[in-house]
Amino acid sequence: MAEKILEVKDLVVEFKTDRGKITAVNGVNFEVYKGKTLGIVGESGSGKSVTALSIMRLIPNPPGRVTGGEILYRGQNVLDIPLDDMRTIRGNKIAMIFQEPMTSLNPVFTVGNQIEEVLELHQKNLSKQERTDKAIEMLRLVGIPSPEKRVQEYPHQLSGGMRQRVMIAMSLACEPDILIADEPTTALDVTIQAQILELMKKLQDEMGMGIIMITHDLGVVAETCDDVAVMYCGQIVEQADVKTLFGHPRHPYTKGLIESIPSFDSTTGGEKGRLPTIEGMVPSLFELPQGCNFQNRCAFATEKCKGPHGEPKLEAIGSGQMVRCFHPLS
């Protein structure tokens, strides 16, 4: 078994809005292992980004706040430590890249400057020259051609894919234990997407960090992940290793997601995994139903699912598989 580096326990995140309080993340549990990739998959609004930002302690407060649970990085609860200590973890031990490569870099500093900045912060023993050399080396590592030249360029001189490579270079400059990638390829076109995912996998093999791959695209999960958590309305509804999840999904929502991937096998071909479509609407977090949150879209819903017995619990079913459903698929 690989070394466990991160453990999220019963995480609850709430937002106070004009229309009232919502629970964007509601009792989420998962673990991240060295050298392994955990996928978090779910439709837009299911709480993936909020989960990721909680780990970095970057939930905007107000309106948001972590109201319950623990986030244990190497056994230490990062929710408890002083902010100054958290800053020595961010970008150093736990790094993050975002969905928006076009706007995530600062437009008025060179990419070299922005990579050197993170080194200056966390690797104080490096001289200025060493930082510059390391920045160039990182750019080369992420496959940016003529990095000696590119290091002096500004973000607007690079394409979206190149900028995401720069983000990856920056996030991995301090060789973090964990890389959180929040929909890193959603904004990129298909061929670039494949290149970036491949790059991340290659770098993981070389550097051995654990990755949390957040996506709404099961195609990405199939290509990159070892384990998967499927999120719906702020909760995990099914969790398993990749093979089990695709081979034998037990939650009706997971099954629906898998079935709605267009041409599932052609992940290397031209077709990009589209936003899966399952009939019906995700319920609003302001008016979640009694019972199971998925009942209005579920073909297997019974009276039991509609309330009297409360909501279904996430329970172990078979080896290592967990499902939140009163009537798991066989």
Partner: protein
């Protein structure tokens, strides 16, 4: 394209703009404005007197010649003589510019530094009591008439406490200092309110950008994020706003100069307007037009320097 090539090209574009501005000023002063001789000679002047004066003032020359004169004056800064004082106007400008600048330049730099610092500060503590109180004070300062500051300043700080001179001016450093202190303070007070509010908005816009989230995720502290990442981006907007004001600094403030008896260009302009001293008013119009054009070029160049996204085309 290199920066110097860009500057040269921008300067070429200035030529037609100067011709256009001169044309506009020529139309206003030489074509559509009422005959100045009427106000100079009074209603009871004879035809002969009027004709004689028009001849003396060059108003009988062909119109195109008068336009050429306007352009020539813009290029040589030779604006002829004042109708009322008979002084060389270029000489008057030279003498008036210094008192004006001794008030406006320090006031401009002080209020720029104070406004940027305050707005960084309030943006840092956004939403808190400090932010709200400073914004409140800014609005309060803006709502008070400038006359109140002038009168209270002159009566209380200058007359009662004797901290500054009430009015007047003395040439040469450091003799002018006691005369310009109060005008500077008042100019700063008048400027800081709107500036802080504008800069604060610019900075708050930046704080919610994605690159700030990235900076936080790298482990940077809020202070570094404000002073390095946010400030440099905010400066792109702030610089344009600020540099375009510089030409008006030379012309001085009509209000402040007349209340404090400072013999600057503002006061000269005011006197010229009161006595229908057309050449002087016209010289001021040409001067401010040209200064604005030049500082527009400077702004564009600065833009290129501070914002790497601006392409030289």
């Amino acid at each position: 394209m290199s920066l110097s090539a860009y500057v040269i090209r921008r300067l070429f574009y200035v030529i037609p703009v100067i011709l256009g501005v001169c044309f506009l000023i020529f139309i206003i002063f030489n074509v559509v404005s009422p005959d100045p001789t009427i106000s100079m000679l009074g209603k009871h002047a004879t035809k002969a007197q009027v004709l004689e004066l028009r001849e003396a003032l060059g108003l009988n020359r062909p119109l195109y010649m008068q336009y050429v004169d306007t352009v020539k004056s813009a290029l040589t800064f030779d604006f002829g003589r004042s109708w009322s004082t008979k002084q060389e106007i270029s000489e008057m400008i030279k003498q008036g510019a210094i008192p004006s600048i001794t008030v406006t330049f320090p006031a401009f730099f002080l209020s720029f530094i104070i406004s940027v610092a305050l707005s960084l500060f309030v943006a840092f503590y956004r939403g808190g009591m400090l932010d709200k109180s400073i914004v409140f004070v800014c609005v309060a300062l803006m709502s008070i008439s400038s006359l109140v500051y002038i009168l209270v300043g002159q009566w209380f700080f200058a007359f009662k406490l004797g901290l500054f001179e009430i009015s007047g001016y003395e040439e040469g450093f450091p003799y002018f200092i006691p005369y310009v202190m109060l005008p500077i303070v008042i100019t700063v007070i008048l400027g800081v309110g709107p500036d802080v509010r504008f800069y604060r908005t610019v900075m708050l816009d930046e704080i919610y950008q994605d690159y700030v989230r990235t900076a936080r995720s790298k482990g940077l502290g809020e202070k570094t994020i404000m002073f390095k990442h946010v400030l440099k981006n905010a400066m792109v907007s702030i610089i344009t706003y600020v540099v375009l004001r510089i030409p008006f600094l030379i012309l001085g403030s009509l209000l402040i100069e007349s209340f404090f008896g400072i013999p600057g260009l503002g006061g000269i302009t005011l006197k010229a307007v009161n006595s229908s001293d057309f050449p002087v008013i016209k010289a001021m119009a040409v001067l401010s037009g040209i200064a604005t054009i030049i500082f527009n070029v400077i702004t564009d160049v600065l833009y290129v320097v501070v914002d790497p996204r601006v392409k030289l085309e």
